[in-house]
Symmetry: C2
Subunit: 227 residues, 2 copies
């Protein structure tokens, strides 16, 4: 893999996505390509980090061995993900080991390369922080939208259930306060209100205080999550 291809891979990675071409080039010069066949140990617990890794192909298992000798898998790294950076930046030793569970290709961004560029170019620092912050925001947004999706599904399931159990399935009475039902379903009260409004706006239910008219039960069943 040429330095140009390595540079290309690095610039696609969120941590370096805001760096300028000359900065990427410098980093690529200090980056090593590693071919790790299945079973290869990349580092052991207690090792010093001589860089951090970006997985291009394959799969890496991170784990610990308990005092009883049992293995506990902490995580599986997939292509596009990096690992080892927190340990590298803190200049600690690895608290876990890493092993290839498939034939894998990785980039090792060496300690010298990354520290050199961080220590000598303040624009690199700001651009890296910008890239990581943007990624962080995106991850938080993902979690929020998945959680909202789950809340919506739970609330729909609950409405269908009380409707099915009711003598008058088209017009049901909430058997407790919004706060109680939200808490039972493990949903924040604000999320509860938001989901009810969404279902109302979608023409699936109509809300009159504690009384809910179920307009379209099949629609509720098939409701796809829309924020």
């Amino acid at each position: 893999m040429s330095k140009e291809v390595i540079a290309q891979q690095l610039s696609k990675f969120y941590m370096f996505s805001e760096l300028q071409p000359a900065q990427i080039e410098k980093l690529a010069a200090g980056t090593k390509l590693i071919d790790a066949s299945r079973g290869t140990i990349l580092f052991n617990r207690g090792d010093i980090a001589n860089g951090f890794y970006l997985l291009l192909e394959g799969q890496i298992k991170m784990g610990v061995i308990s005092p009883q000798g049992d293995e506990k898998v902490i995580g599986l790294i997939q292509p596009g993900q990096s690992f080892g950076e927190a340990v590298l930046f803190m200049e600690r030793t690895f608290p876990i080991y890493a092993q290839a569970t498939l034939d894998s290709k990785l980039l090792l961004i060496t300690r010298d390369a990354i520290f050199d560029i961080l220590d000598n170019d303040t624009t690199v620092v700001r651009r890296m922080l910008a890239g990581i912050s943007a990624r962080n925001r995106q991850l938080v947004n993902n979690i929020e939208s998945i959680s909202l999706q789950n809340s919506t599904q739970r609330l729909i399931g609950y409405l269908i259930q009380i409707s099915t159990d009711s003598p008058n399935p088209g017009r049901v009475q909430l058997p407790a306060s919004k706060y109680t039902i939200a808490s039972m379903l493990n949903i924040a009260p604000e999320t509860f209100s938001r989901v009810m409004l969404k279902l109302n706006n979608a023409g699936l239910i109509e809300v009159f205080g504690k009384e809910i008219v179920i307009i379209n039960v099949d629609g509720l069943r098939n409701f796809e999550f829309i924020l």
Copy 2:
């Protein structure tokens, strides 16, 4: 709010969680407490970032106004979350506006304070990168475990469905290959295998190639997610 209390809030924030007390103190000296009553605009689209924000209490809406004049909410910031850092670090202008939707208290970590400490102390840079990287890993792990939970629920729902539809509910035949079913349920084939193994190990099903013995259908229905 005293500088000591501000320092305490900053040190609890993931981005600064690895900083040393003297570094936190310096940052606290350049941090302003902002009381924003409901409706207050913190910044408008096009404004220059004079720092980034950490929300302590209340709620902040981030949004854009379309050329047609419609408002689009991009996100809601909850206490403990920060915003504006990517724009600050890139030295761009805000592409969105931010408005308090509840009476809110925020910390404004000023541009001068954060850039001064980043430019003059390489250990701050490393410690901030470490804190953010660790946070990133945690967010990715959260997303993975939520996704696995959803995959498990979908696969269980599918197994219960084919069992209910079968003349012999205790012993069902998968009607297609693992790859086809996984794809239909929007699950990666590896995740499919992992969930089947988990259900097998929990004593709920037994897998003989394409034939599945359903040992405990109520157990399946009530299966709580365990990694």
